[in-house]
């Protein structure tokens, strides 16, 4: 998956020839980008405080409300670009989601997206929640182990979670405890392996 150093070296000259006409501009932009990355890195080193600079005032307010509502669950707050983000323990997920849906100050009425990310040592579940009134989008994250990936189901909180969890179960093998029926959704019955995972080969297909 990841490019090796040698491959990266191959790629670089080709790219710069392509952009010869705009090279001066591009180099400048690249320099700015590099500066920004450096600044980011130093900031991370200096303090363990999360970088909340991307959050606008309403998002920051929402983050405060989230922190308050989830005080019992030891939330770790951060920002995903312009969205407030809270990381919780995976075992608390169902309770956390129930609180967020029922809390009148947050009222996360919609589960917009459930993404599972394979970080090779662990999986991360990312829930995008949305509330229409008061308007706000928030991100809830929880890590699950690689060997025994399981998390409590939130299908009882939002029915939208039903298919999302079946999809994550199909592609990544995450078991959602309490889900009514984790039957294959996108894959056929009897498919072996979890094609969403990084370890799943790209070009070796199963006969069906």
């Amino acid at each position: 998956m990841r490019l090796t150093v040698a491959e990266q070296d191959n790629v670089q000259p080709a790219a710069s020839t392509q952009a010869e006409a705009t090279q001066a501009e591009a180099t400048q932009a690249e320099a700015t980008q590099a500066e920004a990355t450096q600044a980011e890195a130093t900031q991370a080193e200096v303090s363990a405080q999360p970088d909340l600079s991307g959050l606008a005032a309403p998002a920051r307010e929402l983050l405060n409300r989230l922190e308050l509502a989830l005080a019992n669950f030891h939330p770790q707050v951060a920002a995903l670009q312009d969205l407030p983000q809270v990381t919780v323990m995976s075992a608390d997920l169902a309770k956390v989601c129930r609180v967020l849906k029922d809390d009148p100050g947050i009222s996360a009425s919609q589960l917009m997206c459930l993404a599972c990310v394979d970080y090779e040592e662990y999986f991360q579940l990312v829930y995008m929640l949305h509330s229409i009134d008061p308007e706000g989008t928030m991100v809830i994250k929880a890590d699950v182990t690689y060997d025994q990936p399981k998390a409590p189901s939130v299908a009882s909180v939002w029915r939208a979670a039903d298919w999302y969890e079946r999809e994550a179960h199909d592609l990544f093998g995450v078991v959602f405890e309490g889900h009514p029926d984790l039957a294959p959704l996108l894959l056929y019955e009897g498919f072996e392996g979890f094609p969403g995972r990084k370890e799943f080969p790209f070009h070796e297909y199963q006969e069906f």
Binding site: R2, A15, E25, A29, Q110, C116, W158, L187
Partner: protein, 376 residues
């Protein structure tokens, strides 16, 4: 057949049977299968089966460079290609902190809104066909063809355009673009009006769609409805208004909402949206100025910085979200798409309960699904 149907039922006793609908069925709008548990003409329960078009697009994105991914987005919601490309480009641009030149933004908005009209025209055509009206579909397809001819002149392809780029667009518009759109708009408006007049308040059409497949606002939110399906329930929420992206804050347009959340409202909201989109195109064409069409950084082989981003936009079918994780290389580490049809379709079991078999076709049609993005 099933056990239930092999038994001889006594008079008046319910006789249940399973009825398989799809995957090759003209009214499933793609390859989608439902198993209906019916008692006579009444649907007691249903079991939707998706995944016939699953190509692992999200996984494929992890093996492609950032610019190559655009072609995969074309093939997800293949009725609204420009809108799909736009959301992906917005995600990468946000991650890189790129600003798109103003002209490129206007080009994108014009093409996206025309694509919305083309998509909704296809919806009206198939909605009419599902309800038994043949003629409006001819008019709708004529209008759609006009839009696609323009798309071909701009991008070289009728459907899989691959025209947007991270940081702008591929190349500038043809010289006579303004005239082409100027000629297209009155014709398109005439097509929309004609199909609208023929279909929307037709008595048979009303009888087939009104009070059929209604969903309450609470249920709609619970199932993650977005876009016209949610607005048909009376929720005034459109991302172009609520969280204006691109240059949508510079246009005046209304957000049509329904009342009852039934099939007819879902149809009517879309019809009204076409008129609003026409308004946006007219305004954008007026405001558009000459200028750059792509930022210099976007043209090169790109490597966004490490990080994550979640971007969403109002597509014809609802809210398309892209969650992008970058590890600093030239390929995305993970790309999760939140397809609007996926959520809208997940409510089909709820919608079909205790309806008639004949209504199942219009209920499914009114959700306006594209299986390419449901299955990905």
């Amino acid at each position: 057949m099933t056990e239930a149907s092999s038994k001889i039922a006594a008079a008046g006793e319910p006789m249940e049977m399973l009825l398989n609908m799809g995957p090759q069925h003209p009214s499933t709008h793609g390859v989608f299968r439902m198993v209906l548990q019916v008692d006579g003409e009444k649907i007691l329960d249903s079991e939707p089966h998706i995944g016939y078009l699953h190509r692992g697009s999200e996984k494929l994105c992890e093996g492609e460079q950032y610019h190559q991914v655009i072609t995969l987005f074309d093939r997800m919601d293949y009725i609204a290609n420009f809108n799909n490309e736009m959301v992906y480009c917005m995600a990468v641009e946000k991650l890189m902190g790129l600003t798109v030149p103003e002209r490129a933004e206007y080009v994108r908005v014009i093409l996206c809104e025309l694509n919305r009209i083309a998509s909704h025209l296809l919806f009206v055509a198939t909605m009419g066909l599902d309800a038994g009206a043949m003629t409006p579909s001819m008019i709708c397809f004529r209008g759609r063809e006009r839009v696609q001819a323009l798309f071909e002149a701009v991008s070289g392809a009728r459907m899989m355009h691959n025209y947007f780029r991270v940081g702008g667009i591929k190349e500038d518009l043809p010289e006579n673009f303004g005239e082409m759109v100027g000629e297209l708009l009155p014709l398109l408006r005439a097509d929309v009006e004609e199909s609208d007049k023929l279909l929307t308040f037709n008595e048979i059409f009303l009888a087939r769609l009104k009070n059929v497949g209604a969903i309450s606002t609470e249920d709609a939110l619970d199932y993650g409805f977005t876009g016209p399906c949610l607005r048909a329930c009376g929720v005034d929420y459109d991302l172009r208004k609520a969280q204006p992206y691109s240059v949508y804050d510079r246009f005046e347009f209304d957000v049509p909402v329904g009342l009852d959340g039934d099939c007819w409202d879902r149809h009517y909201v879309r019809v009204q949206e076409m008129y609003e989109s026409l308004k946006i195109v007219e305004q954008a064409l007026e405001q558009m100025a000459e200028g750059n069409i792509a930022s210099s950084l976007g043209r090169r082989l790109i490597r966004p910085p490490k990080g994550e981003v979640y971007v969403r936009a109002e597509n014809p079918r609802g809210e398309l979200g892209v969650y992008l994780v970058s590890d600093g290389t030239d390929k995305p580490y993970r790309l999760k798409v939140r397809p609007p049809s996926f959520c809208n379709l997940s409510a089909i079991r709820h919608l079909l309960r205790n309806t008639w078999i004949a209504d199942s076709v219009v209920i499914l049609g009114s959700l306006d699904i594209v299986l390419g993005e449901v299955d990905r």
